[in-house]
């Protein structure tokens, strides 16, 4: 049994079907790349796993439990836009996470903030989009969780900083957790993904080990993605 189990998942927005019959499992020690074009259902899937959205039908189990507010203690989610209110400083955000999330690692967070050359006293509203993403990423991966869901962690980040962020993610990845990274910047992420999922129009088109794809198809994941879509 995996730490994440999704069975027969459907999600409708009105009459539009955003996810169709999604079946997935995820295990500890895996980094999964969730790739798909815009509007394919990546963010919807992640929001369903964290419990921000409710499934229209089907089931999601996290660590053997149905999704509710308690499972948020073991699912750490990085949304694709800034999650922090503008009144906060980085220190306020740090205190907020420390107060609400048991096992939040202060040292890890401070190291990451140093690594990204940020200062604890800066206000969120004074940060650039890229800097806000770095703060949110630092908060997300400093939590002690069983599942990490990163939605477009490289969106809005310049190419030079992307490598720095990916290194930051890898350095802080926990072996006893599952990490799902959703992005359309495949070439940047495919090097760290153990498994790859292609999603299009709410359906899973491919769910395969990265190595197997490279061996069998004789092409990179990025090339396969371009060929598929």
């Amino acid at each position: 049994m995996g730490v994440l189990e999704i069975k027969g998942l459907y999600k409708y927005y009105g009459k539009k079907c955003a996810l169709k019959n999604v079946n997935l499992t995820g295990d500890f020690g895996e980094i999964v790349g969730l790739f798909g074009p815009n509007g394919s259902g990546k963010t919807t899937l992640l929001k369903l796993i964290v419990g921000f959205l409710r499934p229209s039908s089907g089931s999601i189990r996290v660590d053997g439990k149905d999704i509710d507010h308690n499972t948020r203690a073991i699912v750490s989610f990085l949304p694709d836009n800034n999650l922090l209110p503008s009144w906060m400083t980085i220190k306020d955000a740090f205190n907020f996470y420390k107060d609400f999330f048991p096992g939040f690692e202060e040292k890890r967070f401070k190291d990451l903030i140093d690594y990204f050359n940020l200062s604890m006293n800066r206000k969120v509203k004074e940060l650039s989009k890229g800097e806000q993403e770095k703060v949110c990423l630092s908060l997300t991966i400093s939590r002690k969780a069983k599942i990490y869901l990163l939605d477009e962690p490289l969106g809005g980040i310049d190419p030079a900083s992307r490598e720095r962020i990916l290194t930051g993610i890898l350095k802080n990845y926990r072996e006893d957790s599952l990490m799902i990274i959703s992005t359309h910047l495949i070439s940047d992420v495919e090097s760290i993904a153990d498994r790859v999922i292609f999603i299009s129009q709410g359906e899973i088109l491919l769910n395969e080990k990265t190595e197997k794809i490279r061996e069998e198809k004789k092409m990179s994941v990025d090339e396969l993605f371009r060929k598929t879509f």
Binding site: Y12, Y13, F52, L53, S56, H69, W87, D99
Partner: protein, 255 residues
């Protein structure tokens, strides 16, 4: 809940500061007006103070309902592993505290300025409060909280998933109907169950106070309260609070 309240208050530091400064500003203007022109009547000062307090209370209601939509039903608070109904109850509690804060702040300055204009006012006010006026004022504060709770239903309805369109429609219709007809319903109940209780609560008649004299109108007679209509009021208050907490916990989606 304590941590939720802590970050709720921290997030509104600037708001409280602005509110405090603008309240002081209004009363300083009144003091200055009396100092230079010497023709401000206690009734005029009371009218201005009361209007300012009403504006502050209405703005507070609007800000709390907006915060529910722009801060509470958002990623950060929904990522926290606590029952989402606590997030809603936190906002309602903050609304209540803030209403009390605005009310007490204005009453303090109002008493100071009217006392300055008419030295017998303090004794009259104390007498008013001792005769049960304190309960009249408490009910006024609770009525403000009632407005926040009722109007938050619209925000909650707008954040329900698309599968719950019928529920959203029913919630909106029910709340509008209640707002339109709750007075009629209460008077109907009063007619069907004409049982009154005298709580010795003096009335608070703003219109009389500003058009007539403060001294006369602060000594208004006690009012009778209809039991059935009061029970209806309390039950709907509880009903909307429980309903909104339940919807917050079970159905809200962060889109």
């Amino acid at each position: 809940m304590i941590n939720l309240l802590k970050y709720g208050i921290l997030g509104k530091k600037k708001y409280y500061f602005t509110l405090f400064l603008s309240t002081i500003g209004v009363y300083i203007i009144l003091f200055m007006g009396q100092y230079y022109f010497k023709n401000i009547s206690p009734e005029f000062a009371f009218a201005i103070s009361f209007l300012f307090m009403l504006v502050s209370l209405i703005l507070n209601i609007i800000f709390n309902i907006m915060s529910l939509d722009t801060e509470d039903i958002r990623y950060l608070y929904y990522s926290v592993p606590i029952n989402p109904k606590c997030i809603y109850l936190r906002r309602m509690l903050m609304g209540l505290f803030e209403t009390f804060f605005i009310f007490l702040l204005n009453m303090l300055f109002m008493t100071m300025i009217i006392q300055f204009l008419n030295p017998i006012f303090k004794d009259q006010l104390i007498n008013y409060l001792q005769r049960g006026g304190i309960f009249t004022l408490l009910i006024f504060v609770l009525a403000m909280e009632w407005i926040i709770i009722i109007f938050s239903t619209f925000v909650i309805a707008s954040n329900l998933p698309s599968e719950k369109d019928i529920l959203r429609y029913l919630l909106n219709v029910m709340t509008i109907l209640y707002l339109l007809f709750n007075n009629a319903l209460r008077s109907m109940l009063s007619r069907i169950f004409p049982y009154n209780i005298s709580l010795h609560m003096p009335q608070f008649n703003y219109e009389n106070i500003v058009t007539s004299s403060l001294r006369y109108n602060i000594n208004l007679p006690k009012i009778n309260v209809n039991i059935a209509s009061t029970i209806f009021y309390i039950l709907t208050f509880i009903f909307f609070l429980v309903l909104n907490s339940y919807l917050f916990e079970k159905y809200i989606e962060i889109k």
